[in-house]
């Protein structure tokens, strides 16, 4: 009996080591809120840009400042989303462990984000940006970031989201603007909002899991 308890105790210790190492690694994967935040931000930008004008003109709402016409919906929404991401992300970083896994994934997203933030104002200033090009580039970069993160984290669901974004990118080269909008909104809903909620549910379940006491 005592021998059996001893063996059980040893097995429990081995399981404890495995679960704690895995816990440390998994704790670095709390990204669900970012997907949800950006999914909402894209949706707000589209809604704002097309308000009262129909789905085919969501990129065409401008403000006249002197002799310059400036598109408002996207720049304002994206800047607010960037500020919110940084504010929440920095707070989150203070309470999370640091790992090379986190740095790898964050690097991928920061690089993709900077590419967009640099490219789109330049496109806007040159007057060569249309909605098809916009969606194709956004979707291609989101595809790259999602697939890269999915491969780093070995998370098939995220890689699948990346593939959906690439399909969206290709689809953006064809059809009318109204069709493009439907495709874009569908991808945002599936890959940002649904995936974000799914990730948050997984994180919440993980956090509720019983931790072994001393």
């Amino acid at each position: 009996m005592q021998e059996q308890m001893h063996t059980q105790d040893l097995s429990e210790r081995l399981s404890l080591i495995e679960s704690m190492i895995a816990e440390g690694r998994r704790s670095t994967e709390s990204w669900g809120w970012v997907f949800l935040l950006w999914g909402v931000a894209y949706s707000v930008a589209i809604a704002w840009g097309s308000w009262g004008q129909g789905l085919s003109v969501w990129g065409n709402r401008y403000a006249q400042i002197g002799s310059v016409r400036i598109g408002l919906a996207w720049p304002v929404t994206m800047i607010v989303a960037v500020i919110a991401t940084l504010a929440i992300g920095l707070r989150h970083e203070r309470t999370s462990p640091s790992t090379s896994l986190v740095r790898s994934v964050v690097s991928v997203w920061v690089a993709a984000g900077i590419a967009m933030l640099v490219l789109f104002p330049a496109f806007g200033a040159s007057g060569r940006l249309d909605q098809h090009i916009f969606v194709a580039i956004v979707a291609a970069l989101l595809g790259v970031a999602n697939v890269a993160s999915g491969l780093i984290l070995q998370w098939k669901a995220q890689s699948a989201c990346g593939v959906v974004w690439w399909v969206t990118s290709v689809a953006a080269c064809f059809g009318s603007v109204a069709q493009l909008t439907v495709v874009f909104l569908s991808a945002i809903f599936v890959c940002q909002i649904v995936f974000g909620i799914y990730a948050m549910v997984l994180e919440s379940r993980r956090n509720r899991r019983e931790i072994v006491h001393a």
């Binding site: 001893h6 404890l16 895995a22 816990e23 440390g24 203070r94 462990p97 001393a214």
Partner: protein, 100 residues
């Protein structure tokens, strides 16, 4: 019959074992994160971390962030080695218990 290994008493305590294992999976971690992951009290956690620190298995960096004290812990090379040896000893003991 080969002699069975002794388990390292510094690591053998469940909370210390959990802490060392948690730190083995990350580069560094804050005191509050370790407390949340192990559901331990400040006093007990601090005492167990101090034992690991005294044994040279973890290193601590204390700093102030926004005027609040912050303790950042990381596993040392000795700590990683000790944990590896502990796991090997555990497996050996389990193996002998099964074949006995």
């Amino acid at each position: 019959m080969p002699e069975l290994p002794d388990l390292n008493p510094v690591i053998h305590g469940k909370l210390r074992l959990a802490l060392l294992s948690l730190l083995a999976g990350v580069e560094e971690a804050e005191f509050t994160w370790l407390r949340a992951k192990t559901s331990s009290t400040d006093g007990n956690l601090g005492a167990q971390l101090l034992k690991l620190e005294d044994a040279g298995y973890v290193a601590v960096e204390k700093k102030f962030v926004a005027r609040k004290p912050q303790s950042i812990y990381r596993i040392t090379d000795d700590g990683r080695q000790a944990l590896t040896e502990y796991v090997q000893a555990l497996k050996q003991l389990l193996g002998s218990a099964i074949t006995a």
